[in-house]
Amino acid sequence: MRTFTYERAASPQAAAQAVAGTPGAKFIAGGTNLLDLMKLEVETPTHLVDVNRLTLADVADTPEGGLRIGALVRNSALAAHPRVRRDYAVLSRALLAGASGQLRNKATTAGNLLQRTRCLYFYDTSKPCNKRAPGSGCSALQGFNRMHAVLGTSEDCIAAHPSDMAVAMRALDATVETVRPDGTERAIPIGAFYRLPGNTPNVETALASGEMITAVTLPPPPPGRQVYRKVRDRASYAFALVSVAAVVQAVGGKIRSAKLAFGGVGAQPWRVPAAEAALQGATADPAAFDAAADAVLAGGRGYGHNDFKLPLARRTLAAVLAGTTRA
């Protein structure tokens, strides 16, 4: 690990100023991903701004009937929160599907949103990687790419976004609240929060230098059944090959509404409005599920080892839709 200086932030704005004003500085909250990467010198911050003491760990009801989740709420606390379990079960399930008990006790809401890909070549500093070292090339394109993305990829990067939590938040239409170094705040819809890799895979989010996440807000709970289905190599403690976060309302065999987001397959948590529109009003049958999958997977492509993800995503979606529309 490279050397770094360290400070504890006194306020969110002070934290934002400290990171914006110090070259090579980074925020540290739970640290479970950042320290892992620092040990391998994939991340080499020269200064860490510890935000753990900030009072951003509350979960509170919003006046609109939604939920405001502080940036520092630990993944385990959020999964166990009574309101999340009752009204946003897909989020609770997604959190519980990720990592281990120890990691969930440390990992934060904001940190989970910002976690980096687990692409083997991103982690291996002896190999080219455009995300880690822009312009050096992508080793995964011709490499061992079984875990990689099939949607939203580019010729410069095919890394998959690793989060489960963010997939559920994408289905729930979450909004990411931030504070900037000048003290101004903004709210970014999660659909606009992540950036596709294109030819700058090192730029992963819409956050500006020093801009810090303070909270994630959820709108009032959507009607329907909520499911998080995760397909992985082990029964526990493994990243998704394919996951589906779904909120589906069906009456008498007809689908009234469907919100669907996908993990393990995309360069970012994946959601396709056209697929949801195709399901609205449709009879819940295999033909409708297949048509929805066509829309979700449009433009998708495998890179060899991960070709299986396209049919696997189709089958997983069909299973989720069959389960959520059953009488």
């Binding site: 690990m1 050397t3 640290g31 999964a79 599907a97 281990s100 008990g101 120890q102 029964a235």
Partner: protein
């Protein structure tokens, strides 16, 4: 160890290893005093370890695990993978289980750390320790301190009503079935695969927990 010492050597395996390594590298034994390198950023941090207040000045890079093991000679938490994948370093931080390898010592000012060394009451083993002995919940033993501390933390989480990935109904606290225990303990690996006995030990302590 020379021939002259003859019969029994009154050293534990750890003491023998430490003495051997220290003599080989440093020429002297100096427990509990890992050195910092001149010119690198250091910080002073205070926290309690197993109820005892400790103050350390460490290289900012020092993980909580290394602070415990190399600075405080609290060697129960083990360094397995050093990347949060194996759980051998599990400690309780303010009562909640975490991977000590994925945290910086300087992040824990004023906090309370409990390791395997802090579970027993004098000579009285913690019930989870006694159950691991009774059920032979280990083979080589390297993962055992992490398994036991993790199991203690896990029972606290269950008692607080936390659900798990395999919990059917998120609204009600589940009974600690074998499936629940296995899911909740998935962050602790055992390369000897003593899992069946580990699960038996935890079930015994959990008793009728529901």
């Amino acid at each position: 160890m020379s021939k002259e010492t003859g019969g029994r050597v009154p050293l534990t395996r750890r003491q023998a290893l430490e003495a051997g390594a220290a003599v080989a590298i440093l020429g002297r034994v100096q427990p509990g005093a890992a050195q910092t390198t001149a010119g690198v950023p250091t910080m002073t941090v205070s926290f309690t370890v197993n109820g005892r207040p400790e103050t350390l000045t460490v290289d900012t890079r020092t993980t909580l695990l290394d602070a415990l093991r190399e600075h405080l000679d609290v060697t129960g938490p083990k360094k397995g993978c050093d990347h949060g994948q194996c759980g051998a370093c599990t400690v309780l931080l303010d009562g909640k289980r975490i991977n000590a390898c994925l945290s910086l010592a300087v992040m824990h000012e004023g906090q309370s750390v409990t390791t395997i060394e802090g579970l027993a009451q004098g000579d009285q083993l913690h019930p989870m320790q006694a159950a691991f002995v009774h059920h032979d919940g280990y083979q080589c033993g390297y993962c055992t301190p992490g398994q036991i501390v993790s199991a203690v933390g896990m029972l606290g989480e269950h008692k607080a009503g936390w659900p798990s990935y395999v919990t059917d109904d998120l609204a009600t606290g589940p009974t600690l079935s074998e499936a629940e225990i296995r899911e909740r303990m998935s962050g602790n690996l055992c390369r000897c695969s003593a899992y069946p006995n580990i699960v038996d030990a935890i079930r015994e302590v959990a008793g009728g927990a529901s």
